[in-house]
Amino acid sequence: MEEKAAVSRVAMYITQGCLVVPIQVELHDELVLQIQEDILERVNKTGIKGVIIDVSGVAIIDSPLGRAISDTARVASLLGAKTVITGLRPGVVASLIDLDFDIRDVPTAVSLEEGFRMLAPVVASKEETEEAEEEIEAPEEGEEQEETAETDEDQEVEADEEENDRDEE
């Protein structure tokens, strides 16, 4: 009887408004799929705007794995999150270049810090992130829409006031 080997889950955490996925083990197809699912589930549930996939613990990335990583980034962006890959090792880079693999559509950063810096413009404000960290349950869609509507209206009112001020001058 074949027993399915227990596939260790990759622990991910949220900090500075980003979902950080540190991969410290060698990747294989099944694990990559699992990581992909976990990331997308977290992005969907928390509405996080930035994802950092750190592959500094990975010594080998071949074309299929590279493609799986860039697929994950593409789907995450459809869900509203921008992905940055950090920690690509020299050996990994050299082989990806030789394989002529193009992951140029996914931004890469030289360090975790640089990854956070690149994502800073798109991530949610600190307060929203803290709420997301506390509530892993998906927020009610209705509430979110109302909040956005109010902000738009506020901005419209401010714009009108500015125009009126200018007219008076």
Binding site: P90, V93, A94, L96, I97, R104, T108, V110
Partner: protein
Amino acid sequence: MTKGMQETKIPIPVLVLWEDILLVTIFGVVDSKRAQELMETALARIWEVQSRIIILDIRAVPSVDTAVANHFIKISQATKLMGCQCIISGLSPAIAQTIAGLEIDLGELQTRASLLEALELALEMTGLEVVAKKKTAAK
């Protein structure tokens, strides 16, 4: 080759020019072996220092043909993949003409005529500027 003969490997120093900015000065002919060494050394240093920019100065490279140009393009793609932008400096007008004539897509590669200009670009890209010290007013 006799056992007594030793291969002297010319080291490729990759210097930290400024925080986040590396500098490599390349001497002589860049064949595929040298290009490979250059790429390995550069990537290893980028990994170690985590710099965002690497300047390759080629003032001492005598000529650039399609092969050499492609080596540089490959190196810049590799560094970019690691998250480090490559700038090539020290292009002579002759080399610039040669490269333009080859009609290759340089892609991500940035080039400048002088190291000074490359440094200016690197500083700009890392959000820095050089400002003169204020002189204290004479009493």
